[in-house]
């Protein structure tokens, strides 16, 4: 579950105009939301904020039911981040690590047993169609392969919240549909999902409530 109340966010403290202005909305546990809006509207900024890469300048923010502010202990924020799966617009893979090692990272950071990690990681890589590419360093992957690796890494640890920033823009249509159907299925199983996209066709195919941003403000919310 996420809840925002009059949230403002700006890049640098001295910057006059906030990138995100007066955002108030909430998504219940297991909810699926499209995050829409023109380029530069602030979709990436909002997802990064929900990933707790920075803190709101003003307003109240709650992620997975926990209030997030400058007063929240660091350890709590670390545990929260471990329960979030984020697909970044630019993937943010570890370039020197292979596909398996990249996808295994969230599980290793949670000190899961290696044999369990092995099984989970291989199963998910097979599912995203990277079963033959597991040993390849991330730096040597094509854009689509990097994106699928990033998606696998975001869901391998069964997070409570999935944040995906244009997660299918490097994928073929069938692959994109397959992945979005997975996100939708995960949301019916209780995972909260936010997907930022430009792709109208995807939205028509999977009609779900949307949040529409414009110049950092929430201008529309609903179907």
């Amino acid at each position: 579950m996420i809840r925002l109340k009059n949230v403002f966010w700006q890049r640098a403290r001295k910057q006059e105009k906030p990138v995100l202005s007066d955002l108030s909305f909430s998504v219940p546990q297991g909810g699926f939301r499209w995050l829409l809006g023109p380029s530069g509207a602030g979709k990436t900024s909002l997802l990064n904020l929900l990933h707790i890469e920075s803190l709101p300048a003003r307003g109240d923010l709650e992620i997975l039911g926990k209030p997030v502010s400058a007063d929240t202990p660091r350890a709590t924020l670390v545990r929260l981040r471990q329960r979030i799966g984020m697909v970044h617009q630019n993937y943010r893979l570890m370039p020197g690590l292979s596909v398996v090692d990249n996808v295994a990272l969230p599980l290793r950071l949670q000190h899961r047993p290696e044999d369990e990690i092995h099984d989970e990681v291989h199963a998910i890589l097979k599912w995203v169609g990277l079963g033959e590419r597991i040993g390849v360093p991330a730096a040597n992957l094509s854009g689509g392969e990097q994106q699928r690796t990033a998606i696998a890494r975001a869901i391998v640890h069964r997070p409570g919240l999935i944040l995906a920033d244009e997660p299918t823009n490097a994928l073929e249509e069938p692959q994109a549909h397959k992945l979005l159907d997975l996100f939708d299925e995960l949301s019916t199983m209780g995972t909260t999902v936010l997907v930022a996209t430009h792709n109208e066709a995807l939205i028509r195919r999977l009609p779900r409530p949307s949040l529409y941003l414009e110049r950092g403000r929430l201008v529309r919310e609903g179907e």
Binding site: E53, R74, L105, H118
Partner: protein
Amino acid sequence: MALPFSGRKDGLSLSEALPDRSLFILVAMMSFLAALTLTGATGARALSARWSGGAAQLLTIQVTAPDHVPDGAGSTKNATQKTRADLVVDALAALPPGTQVHRLNKEELAHLLAPWLGDANNSALPLPAVIEVRLPAGTDSPPTLEQTLNAQVPGTVVEHNAEWSSRLRALADSLLACAALALAAVGGIAALITALATRSGLSSRRDIIRILHGLGATDSYIAGRFASRTGALAFGGGLLGTVLAMAPLALLFRMAAPFAATSLQTATAAMPSWDTLPRLLPTDLLIGLAGLPVVAAFIGWFTTQVMVRLWLRGMP
């Protein structure tokens, strides 16, 4: 099909994510320099101690016509007739207890004078007796020693070494100051370069730190992983630099060995053989050299801990 899967305990395979040759090479070069400077400083300290301590305590006494038996030497009753040299040696018994008196024998004298006289054994020149007197530490020879000796054996010359000993002491002091200054400068620069190399190596890894942070890694985990990696790199570099410095260092010590002899008798013009060399290197120098890689590792580890934690503080 066997699936490639790195079941590493460290979980991050940072050795692959962080290939940093430049840090390794820079630390190796700095350790090389530090090892040489440390050796120079140790050598300078030993030399300076010898000069300022040894010279003051050493007297050289020359007795001309040493084998001549004086007429009225009061030896009428004695069956054994004492030579001038014997008389001087007897008189020296009055010096403080612990004083070493050694009359150079013919071979030693010949050896000492060889550079000036050639084969002194076959020389027709009348050679004086040379008596080395080493006073115990903290004592001084009586200022009237030469007078006393001359009263009994006229023509005896006492070389006090006092004048050149004070010059030597000044020289030793300035040598020591230079060595200390060089050691401090090289140590400081080496530490700084190691820290800077660590820093520049890390700045290209900032995105990795950000990724790990985003995946929910704790600060101490990230800082610890990076610090042990750079610590190990710096240790390896330090080890290589120190080992490489051993060759010129051994050469230097071998050349310096003749000057390190304790007295005229043991001084040889020859250099010691290579296999005795390890015993010639002072223990404290060996300990200092062994400590260099550890110090390099600590600088790398510490700099990384500080920098990574500072960067992480910029993220919530």
